[in-house]
Amino acid sequence: MRALWSAATGMLAQQLNVDTVANNLANINTTGFKASRLEFQDLIYQHLPSPGSVQGGQPPAALLQVGHGVQPVATQRLFSQGSLEPTDNPLDLAIQGRGFFQVELPGGTRAYTRDGSFKLDAEGNLVTSNGYRLVLEDGEEVPLEADALEVAADGTITAVVRDDDGEVTRTEIGRINLATFINPAGLQAMGQNLFLATPASGEPETARPGEGGVGYIQQGYLEASNVNVVQEMVALIVAQRAYEMNSKAIQASDEMMGLANNLRR
């Protein structure tokens, strides 16, 4: 009985849907997190020459097509802007608009992130919470005696050094360039708030913040997760009920098979 297996594909798909929603909800406080959504497609159709269908002068039997259920086809990541929350930490940076920070993984691979909660390492490099270095243009280390770090909206980083006489020296120590992708939805999430470029996302294009449609940088802010709790809860309800409906279809199919078995007493 096809109905049993169709309904089973539905239950599997909805299970994956709940997994996706649960992951979104779990990351409700993750800086720079982007919500995902599971997408479905109907499976292939079988064109049945229906047994017992009336022949002669009737529409061809191929018009009888029975589907085989559903398949999850993709998780679509939604790169909408998360709200910017003030933190008063000068090393917290947020992107207002399109674009990603570029960080260098051990081994030299570039990864991309919207999570701008940077730290300074022992050598004076800006690093992510996991210690991956932020890629800067003309980047130098932050001098150890620096009193403050200023990041302008266009990504220019300035170290402010105040000497004993109260004299202030400003040194430009590099600029943050943002990477944009033609199809950010094609990026591969690797965890730790990082994304990797894929053939689907296209090659990264780097640009100065604020230029040509790229977002600009806000110092002292972090981008909150773009997960919308209400939407996720509704999605959870829908997924759970759909799961239930499919289980009912399995039960009904099972009962029907039971009835058929009882034909011969």
Binding site: Q41, D42, Q65, A74, K248
Partner: protein, 257 residues
């Protein structure tokens, strides 16, 4: 009596097929752009029953064979039909989610020629072309829609289907319709194939950041499932009754107690 056995079996076969169709509809209750299936059934051709072995009235050349009445011997599946009622539009906020408000279909290029779909969950391939989730090219009025890789301004789709990147117009989505939609058959993956040539659709609006939800109404499908289930059960009971009656005929009629 034996005839009734097969009639009831035909009823069970129809109910099984219904259950398959309903089950597929329910699993696709959250598939964007999915259109529910309906099963069309029909009665077997009727028979006119007449009595056999009647005595010919004296002097008559033919027997009049008095008629008993009309009888059909079951039901059969004729075909499935797709219910093209529009589904609800849901806002997703994703710029490459497109929904057609009104009638019409997106045109995509597959290996088997043009296919048509209402599921606007599109994405871009590595060449920057607009494709479906399965990588089929989405066609515009002047061919494939391709976005320059240096584009940073984002993609804007207007209500008339024209596609822009910033200020630059890249083309217009091709939206088609069919005068007779029963020519459309499902290919899976949300796609339809047609034997007819489509006509250009009119009176539609393209909504960016929206998806058309499945048009399956869970309540209706569940009620149909109950109905199917009970019809199956009733037919099963009919078979059992026939079986009992046959059993009596075989074992009890003429048995010396």
């Amino acid at each position: 009596m034996i005839r009734g056995l097969y009639t009831a079996a035909a009823g069970m076969a129809v109910a099984t097929r219904w259950q398959e169709v309903l089950s597929n509809n329910l699993t696709n209750a959250s598939t964007p752009g999915y259109k529910g299936d309906r099963l069309l059934t029909q009665s077997f051709p009727g028979l006119m029953l007449s009595r056999l072995n009647d005595q010919k009235p004296p002097g008559w050349r033919v027997s009049l064979r008095p008629q008993v009445g009309w009888l059909a011997t079951g039901a059969a599946v004729r075909r499935t039909a797709v219910d093209f009622t529009p589904g609800a539009l849901k806002e997703t906020g994703s710029p490459l989610d497109l929904a057609i408000s009104g009638s019409g279909f997106f045109v995509v290029q597959t290996d088997a020629g043009e296919a048509y779909t209402r599921a606007g969950t599109f994405t871009l391939d590595q060449a920057g072309r607009l494709v479906t989730r399965n990588g089929h090219l989405v066609l515009g009025v002047d061919g494939v829609l391709e976005f320059p890789s240096t584009d940073r301004a984002g993609i804007v789709v207007a209500r008339d289907g024209s596609v822009r990147s910033g200020e630059r117009v890249l083309g217009r989505l091709r939206i088609v319709d069919f005068t007779d939609r029963s020519v459309l058959t499902k290919m899976g993956g949300g796609l339809f194939r047609a034997v007819d040539v489509p006509v250009e659709a009119t009176g539609y609006e393209i909504l960016q950041g929206y998806l058309e939800e499945s048009n399956v109404q869970a309540v209706v499908e569940m009620v149909r499932m109950i109905e199917t289930m009970r019809s199956y059960e009733a037919n099963q009971k009919a078979i059992q009754a026939h079986d009992q009656a046959l059993g009596k005929a075989v074992n009890e009629v003429g048995a010396s107690s």
